[in-house]
C-alpha cells in the first residue's frame, strides 16, 4: 500500500484560502498520469471537506488523508 502511494507530483497549497486549494488541485491533477498519485498539502481547514467533495465530483480517488501541525495532506489518485 505505502509504495503505491509514492506521489508522482506534489502540490503545496499551504497558506491558500478557499477556493484555491481545490482550483490548484484541479489544475495540477492534469500533470499526473492516469493511475498516478498527486499529493496535496493545505492549511485551509475547509479543504478537508472541499478536497473530499472535489474528488467525489470529479471521480478521482482520495486514497488517503492525513493531518498534523495544522497541515492537511491528501493523496489523490487520478482516475480519468
Amino acid at each position: 500500500m505505502s509504495e503505491e502511494l509514492t506521489p508522482e507530483k506534489e502540490l503545496d497549497a499551504r497558506g491558500l484560502q478557499c477556493p484555491m486549494p481545490v482550483v490548484k488541485t484541479s489544475q495540477e491533477i492534469k500533470n499526473v498520469s492516469v493511475g498516478g498519485v498527486l499529493k496535496v498539502m493545505a492549511t485551509d481547514p475547509g479543504s478537508m471537506a472541499d478536497i473530499t467533495a472535489w474528488c467525489k465530483s470529479t471521480g478521482n480517488e482520495l486514497v488517503k488523508m492525513e493531518q498534523g501541525d495544522g497541515v492537511f495532506i491528501f493523496y489523490i489518485r487520478r482516475t480519468n
Binding site: 484560502q17 484555491m20 481545490v22 482550483v23 484541479s26 489544475q27 472535489w54 465530483s57 470529479t58
Partner: protein, 159 residues
C-alpha cells in the same frame, strides 16, 4: 439538465457589489475546478466586473452614469463602503488572510475556461460598448441565450 457530457453551471451576475461579485467568481472557479462547464452572464451593475477601467457613455446621461461605474478593482462592498473606505478595508483584510483578490479570481476563471457573457440590453441602456469590456468576454448576448444556457445547466444562480 445536461444529459451527457460534463455538468453545467450558469450564473447571472446582476450585482456590482464587490462582495457579491467575489462570491460569484469563487463559485464559478470552483464549479470549473470540479469539472463543470461554467458560464457567467453579466447584466446591469454586474457589467462593472468585466468592464475596463475607462469612461463610457455617449450622451449626457451615459456620461453621468459613467462616473459611478467602476472596474473590477474599483467596486465596493454591498455594506459599509463609506465612500471607498470599506473597499480599502475589505481588500486589506482579505489580503492579510491571503484570500485571492477579485482581479486574480477573474483571471483564474478565464484561465479555467469559464465563459463570460455580457448582456446586450444593459450595455445599450448604460451606453457601454463592446470595446469598454475586457477582451476575454466571449460574447455579447440576450436573455434567450442565457435561458438556453440555464436550461442545460445543473446549477443556476442569480447573484
Amino acid at each position: 439538465m445536461s444529459e451527457n457530457g460534463p455538468k453545467k453551471a450558469s450564473i447571472v451576475v446582476f450585482s456590482g457589489d464587490m462582495d457579491r461579485v467575489m462570491a460569484a467568481f469563487i463559485i464559478a472557479t470552483t464549479a470549473a475546478a470540479m469539472g463543470m462547464e461554467t458560464s457567467m452572464f453579466f447584466t446591469f451593475w454586474g457589467l462593472q466586473a468585466i468592464k475596463k477601467k475607462r469612461g463610457t457613455g455617449k450622451g449626457l446621461f451615459g456620461k453621468m452614469l459613467s462616473i459611478f461605474l467602476k472596474d473590477i478593482d474599483g467596486i465596493g462592498p454591498s455594506k459599509m463602503n463609506f465612500g471607498g473606505m470599506g473597499r480599502w478595508m475589505f481588500k486589506k483584510m482579505m489580503k492579510d488572510k491571503k484570500v485571492t483578490s477579485l482581479p486574480e479570481l477573474r483571471q483564474m476563471a478565464i484561465d479555467m475556461g469559464v465563459k463570460l457573457l455580457a448582456c446586450q440590453m444593459s450595455m445599450d441602456v448604460m451606453e457601454i460598448d463592446r470595446e469598454d469590456l475586457i477582451d476575454e468576454v466571449a460574447d455579447v448576448v440576450g436573455a434567450a441565450t442565457y435561458i438556453l444556457e440555464a436550461q442545460q445547466a445543473d446549477i443556476t444562480l442569480f447573484i
